[in-house]
């Protein structure tokens, strides 16, 4: 008579033996990375340029407006400068943002953003809440143009400012909505310094209604941004952690050349979102 233990061992042996040949048809690791990259690219292609430039502008104005980043900034003066920064800040510079797997080149002056790495975006923002751009897929050798409305909400109506920062970052492009979000947001310095990318930095934590939004590291001497980690979805959930490294570069012809979209010969135009 078979005992329970013997039956358990038999079950283990049989289940293992009879399913041992079952394997995924493709290596799951590159597949998972590819799917994550495509998901992130789709989202970043839609909102990334707006979000990154807006956050960067906010960071830069935080730096410019504060004699020392040791305070929580919430004054109307700071908010005003945040707002102005969306249009004016670093308009003459080229910003290189190296993401976890992609590099973005941003020119705040005309709102262009290019990511020349696999999936190639050229996003141009306009003032009426539209994001237009061209997406080139090097895998399928296709390209398409996209146009996305960045805010369907009536101007000035934001039910929960924090929602705009995390769940619906598209509202970053709406100046009125952004202003409301910024009213609820605070930048607080974390005591001490840290070495990031070989630079001594101070750390700012950005939060909204006590909910962490992002961690930002500024060069302790120049107070220029060095690194940022969004902490809220949708970007944060796609990468753990999703890190952006910043380099503020002069607008030389060589640097500006990175912002020129070149669709390779032989690539086929397809419907948007294909």
């Amino acid at each position: 008579m078979i005992t329970d233990d013997e039956l358990h061992d038999l079950l283990r042996q049989r289940l293992s033996a009879e399913t041992a040949h079952l394997n995924l048809r493709t290596d799951p690791v590159p597949w998972v990375h590819g799917r994550l990259r495509r998901r992130r690219n789709r989202r970043i292609a839609q909102v990334g340029g707006v979000v990154i430039t807006a956050i960067l502008a906010a960071v830069l104005v935080t730096v410019q407006s504060a004699s020392s980043p040791t305070e929580a900034h919430k004054s109307s003066n700071v908010l005003q400068r945040f707002h102005i920064a969306l249009v004016d800040a670093v308009s003459d510079d080229v910003i290189k943002i190296t993401g976890s797997e992609q590099t973005f080149w941003v020119h705040q002056g005309d709102g262009r953003m290019v990511s020349p790495n696999g999936l190639f975006e050229d996003v141009v923002t306009t003032q009426n809440g539209e994001v237009t751009g061209t997406v080139v897929n090097y895998t399928t050798k296709t390209w398409y143009t996209m146009s996305t409305s960045v805010s369907n909400e009536p101007t000035g109506v934001v039910a929960n400012p924090c929602d705009g920062i995390g769940a619906n970052m598209l509202t970053f492009a709406d100046p009125t909505a952004l202003q409301q979000e910024l009213k609820a947001e605070q930048f607080v310095r974390v005591p001490g310094t840290q070495v990031v990318d070989g630079q001594t930095t101070v750390e700012l934590e950005s939060s909204c209604n006590a909910k962490p939004v992002a961690t930002i590291y500024l060069n302790a001497d120049t107070l220029l941004p060095v690194e940022m980690m969004p902490l809220l979805p949708p970007i944060a959930e796609l990468h753990d952690p999703f890190v952006m490294h910043f380099a503020i570069l002069p607008a030389t012809p060589a640097n500006l050349a990175h912002l020129k979209l070149q669709i390779p010969a032989g690539f086929t135009q397809v419907p948007a979102g294909t």
């Binding site: 358990h8 038999l10 283990r12 289940l15 009879e18 995924l24 048809r25 976890s100 070495v195």
Partner: protein
Amino acid sequence: MVRRKAAVDPLFDDFVRAHAPILLRTAVLITGDRGHAEDLVQTTLLRTAGRWSVAAASPKAYAFRVLINLGRDRARRLRRRIPEDLSGTMEMPFLSPAGVDETATVLDRQLLTSALAELTAAQREVVVLRFLGDLSVAETATVLRISEGAVKSTTAKATARLKLLLTDEPLPPEVHSDY
């Protein structure tokens, strides 16, 4: 202080390489359909990746929980459309390795698979997690969100049923389990 950071946690890749096969085998035994099983595993891996900061503490249990939940969702959807007869939908050919035609082995496989299909969904989950996934009672309880006592009792009932089905032995008057 130097911050340590990584764009992609290499531990996630290690986890995928080590456990994707067992997740697939578990999904096949739970759903009885290799195609659906692969879909469930892919979705499981994506969700685990998306929540790696949470899953990293116990990735195997986390992934199994996602997989089980996806399997249950699928079963619910099927029930809404047509009553599910697992014994009828269990695909057998995939269990036979290519080029091997050993009648006795195939019959054994059919017997075991048929026996699993005779179990309730809850019993099948417990058996597969415990004896294929090699999860402990505590881990199984965590994955299924039931008590350890429930895992033990379900395991006892399931193994007693399998014992009857696989060995043709009559069910003992009382089934005791000490794990």
